[in-house]
Structure formats: C-alpha cells, structure tokens
C-alpha cells in the first residue's frame, strides 16, 4: 500500500462520523429551558424574600435603609409643621 493510498484511506476514515441519536433532542431540551428562563421575570417577590431571608447583611441593609427613610420623612414632616 503506497503512502497515497494510505492517505486516501485515512481521509475516508476522517469523513466518517456517528453523532449520538439524542444529539438534537438534548439540544432542543436545552433550548426550551433557555426560552422558559427568558420568559420568567428576572426576580419575583417570592424569590426576593427567599433570597433575603438567607442573607444577614442584606436584611441589615434593608432595615437601615428603612430607618433612614423613616427618619428623613419624620424630619420633613417636622420642618413642614414648624414652617
């Protein structure tokens, strides 16, 4: 067998390919999941409170922000009442 014949045999072998039977199925289920995730809201309230309950500093930050807003509101009302 000459090198040219071996090269041809190799080339034919490289052209052969068997793709898994479920290749397209696997991909399509990934695409459907992707589409589902896209149509879901970025953050729903249930998800947000679930996330919040697991993070101490997030809870503390939220409480601090609420306290600041409350205080500012109180100051504004107080100033308005005096003025």
């Amino acid at each position: 067998m000459t090198i040219t014949e071996r090269y041809r045999a190799w080339k034919e072998q490289k052209k052969q390919i068997e793709v898994s039977q479920d290749f397209a199925k696997k991909l399509m289920s990934r695409l459907y999941q992707h589409e589902q995730a896209k149509s879901k809201p970025w953050l729903d309230s249930q998800q947000f409170f679930g996330w919040l309950s697991g993070h101490f500093w997030a809870k503390a930050g939220l409480a601090l922000a609420a306290a600041i807003i409350g205080f500012v509101r109180f100051v504004i009302i107080f100033c308005a009442a005096l003025g």
């Binding site: 067998m1 000459t2 090198i3 071996r6 090269y7 045999a9 190799w10 080339k11 072998q13 490289k14 052209k15 390919i17 793709v19 898994s20 290749f23 397209a24 696997k26 991909l27 399509m28 990934r30 695409l31 459907y32 992707h34 589409e35």
Partner: protein, 180 residues
Amino acid sequence: MTEEIRIIRQVLNGHTDSFELLVQRYQKPIVRMIRNITGDSQACEDIGQDVFFTAYKKLASFDSARSKFSTWLFTIAKNKSLNALKRKRPISLAEMPEKADYHNPGDKLAQKEVVAEFDKALQDLPKRQRMAFVLAEFEELPYEEIAQIEGVRIGTIKSRINRARKKLAAAMKSRTGDIQ
C-alpha cells in the same frame, strides 16, 4: 426564499421547534469538523451542542445577504474549536503508538498506527493551516467559503492548504519512511 431562510424566520418568530430541522441537517458536518480540528472525539459533541446553542441565541444577527447559513454556522464552530484548543492539554509523545511493520500490508496494527500517525501529523499542523486543511479536505468546502469562514483572502487559504499538505507528506515520510 430558500428553505433554510424560511426555517430561520420561523424560529425567529418564536417557533423554537423548527430549529431542530437545522440541527438535523448540520449536526454531522459540524461535529465532524470539530472532531477533526480538536482531535478530541469525546468532547466534539459537547462543543457541537455549544455551537448550535450559540447559533440559536444569535440567530437574529445572521444576515443571509452576507453569507450562507452553513458558512455562518461553520464560523461559530471554528471559533468554538479554537477556544477548545486553547484549553486543551497538548498530546504527549508517550501517547503515540509504538512503531509497527508498515511494510506488511496485512498488518492491521500497522494500518491503525498509520491512521494514528496521520492524526498526529494533522494535530501538529499550525491551527490556521489545520483549519483550512480540514475544511477543504474533509468538509470539501469551496475555497471561497473557507476564506469567508476564516476572514481572509482566497490566496491565503490556498497557500495554507498547500503548506498543510506538504507538511503532512513530509511528516509521514519522516515517520514511516518511504512505504511504497
């Protein structure tokens, strides 16, 4: 309007399931190209999955006036293959098979090893030459299409393929000797 363009429009209009027709049509050439570029017959299907997933996500950016869908898809596959090659460890010589009797045509082991030697020679080619060679020899794409995929002139592709062929022939001669 070609059938492919019609399918693409359907997918863009929300008919995700129509994309399967494109997958069925191109899964073999895409996975084969990735396998021949990366030399990785295990990972080629996973990379192929990524290629089609990316194609689906970016389908709106496909411009049929600029290229054929297959050219666009092969371009994505080329980029994914190059990324995979960057992450891949080089094949050590210890993984290469031992020498066999190449002069005995009945020696199946020798036959297998010649295939392995050709594979090794292919993997030793510079990435760009290997890419052009694989697209021309195994995918049998015209030079114009390869040039579009690679984003270079046809002349560059021709010279890459010629250099790849010469290197392969030289590598095979030095590894197996003149086996005529």
